[in-house]
Amino acid sequence: MSGSRRHSMIGDALAQVGAAGLFLFAILAAMPKSVRHFRETLRQIWFVGAMSLVIIMTCGLFVGMVLSLQLYYTLAKFGGTAALGTVVALSLFRELGPVVTALLFAGRAGTSMTAEIGLMRATDQLSAMEMMAVDPLAYVVAPRFIAGIVAMPLLACVFNALGILGAHAVGVSWLGLDNGTFWGNMSSNVEVWSDLVNGVWKSAAFGAVIALIATFQGYTTPPTSEGVAYATTRTVVSSSIVVLALDFVMTAFLM
């Protein structure tokens, strides 16, 4: 890759980051007006939250089961299988719950936000709203942004709960770990504020970032079928990278 091409790509990426930052300010400025569209916000929370439950619950269950199997194998080497419930819960609450939920959320809800807004752009629906003196930032974008922030922590909690149940099914019902030991060690070692709420904060931040990327990509997409397709792909790729990078930063600060 030539130097000038590399510089151009870096410049384009930085320009996108700058534009997304300005877009965030525009959304925040439109928030007071979006209060009028409370029902639309509720509809979006239902759409990105409740409609994502099946994939989140299924994945949470299997992630918990796999985690339980792997950790039982590792802990058995040190004679520490009694700590299985604690380790599974800490892994899920502090890390896997928010991150895996965010990646699934980007694939399930982020892409639908981008495609929907992109198609509204391509079919002049956003322009029509502007011409009816209805601000699309307040009516279309802000409710989806709020929905992302509200739904992500709730989904992460559901993911965690199902993960713990999956881990319990494997660890206690299958591998024979004592039920009281599993729950007792977990409840005495897991802190609500420093572990559970820590993950909730992370989830809310991931929800905001994914919703920002998804709505920005949809809102600024070229009004063509190819443009919408690229925008949807960019939503998944950018969200995944940003979530993992932000996870590192937040973990470093919230430890």
Binding site: T123, D124, Q125, S127, A128, E130, M131, M132, A133, V134
Partner: protein, 284 residues
């Protein structure tokens, strides 16, 4: 090919004292193309003014300038005595509350039924009892002949029906300025006639100002009080439709006569035809 100097027949509007929309010295460049090169135009208050011209001449862009959707490179645009380019976003939205806009592709909200599409501006701006909303919406749908389609979704409508629903939505708040971008496309002769009557009736009964972008000169002749013919980035001719039809200028003769030869280029600029076909340049 007959290509007289376009600037020789370029016209300017006369001094219209009561113009709802006033445009002076409009310059717009999109990409490499000069779309408007000093356009002056007046839309008289309470009249129907048609904007005509060849495809790609910038008629829809002109409407986007008037409604503040797109900024021009230079020029003054005043709508109802408001300087559009200088309006804040809030002021622009206040102005648009008094404008009804029929989009070229209807632009119906695909998640809403026909009824909810037409009710949308009412629900967003006014707190009316549901019964009144229902009465207003059904009255407008009846006017475009689609009261029976109120519960259908946009995907279930034909192009012409979608256009009529969009028309009902555009006029739902009795705007002071109605803008119709290609309202007759996709309409059968019956619907076209009814829409034409509706546009004329709206103007006559409510005294609103209308801008009509259309290619169908026969329809425009029946509806419009004034026609602007835009070509080559300028106002090529303007006047009453009957007068324009009889005027013997190269612009009107070519456009209304539908001829390929004339000041309006039919062909998109291209390389030498012979070279494109692989013959030596300048081959006969």
């Amino acid at each position: 090919m007959n290509t007289p100097n376009p600037s020789a027949s370029i016209e300017s509007p006369g001094s219209t004292t009561d113009a709802y929309v006033q445009i002076r010295g409009l310059h717009t460049v999109l990409g490499d193309k000069v779309l408007f090169d000093g356009v002056d135009l007046d839309i008289p208050r309470g009249k129907i003014t048609a904007i005509m011209g060849p495809s790609g001449t910038g008629k829809t862009t002109l409407l986007r300038h008037i409604t503040g959707q797109l900024a021009a490179d230079a020029g003054e645009i005043r709508v109802d005595d408001k300087d559009v380019p200088r309006l804040s976003r809030k002021q622009l939205f206040d102005l648009r509350e008094g404008i009804g806009y029929l989009f070229q592709n209807s632009a119906l909200l695909t998640d809403f039924s026909v009824f909810e599409n037409v009710a949308f501006p009412l629900r967003q701006h006014l707190r009316l009892p549901e019964e009144i909303v229902r009465n207003i919406v059904l009255t407008r749908l009846q006017a475009v002949g689609l009261r029976g389609a109120a519960e259908l979704m946009p995907a279930e409508l034909s192009g012409g029906m979608a256009r009529r629903v969009a028309l009902a939505r555009a006029m739902i708040r009795d705007p002071g300025l109605m803008i119709y971008d290609e309202p007759f496309v996709g309409l059968d002769p019956i619907a076209l006639n009814q829409v034409l009557k509706l546009i004329r009736t709206l103007n006559d009964t409510l005294g609103i100002t209308s801008i009509l972008v259309a290619h169908e000169f026969a329809a425009v002749r029946r509806a419009a009080d004034h026609v602007y013919l835009i070509a080559g980035g300028k106002v090529a001719a303007h006047g009453h439709p009957d007068e324009l039809a009889e005027r013997d200028s190269p612009w009107t003769r070519q456009f209304f006569g539908g001829e390929a030869d004339g000041p309006v280029p039919f062909e998109y600029p291209a390389r030498d035809y012979a070279v494109d076909l692989g013959f030596p340049a300048g081959a006969p």
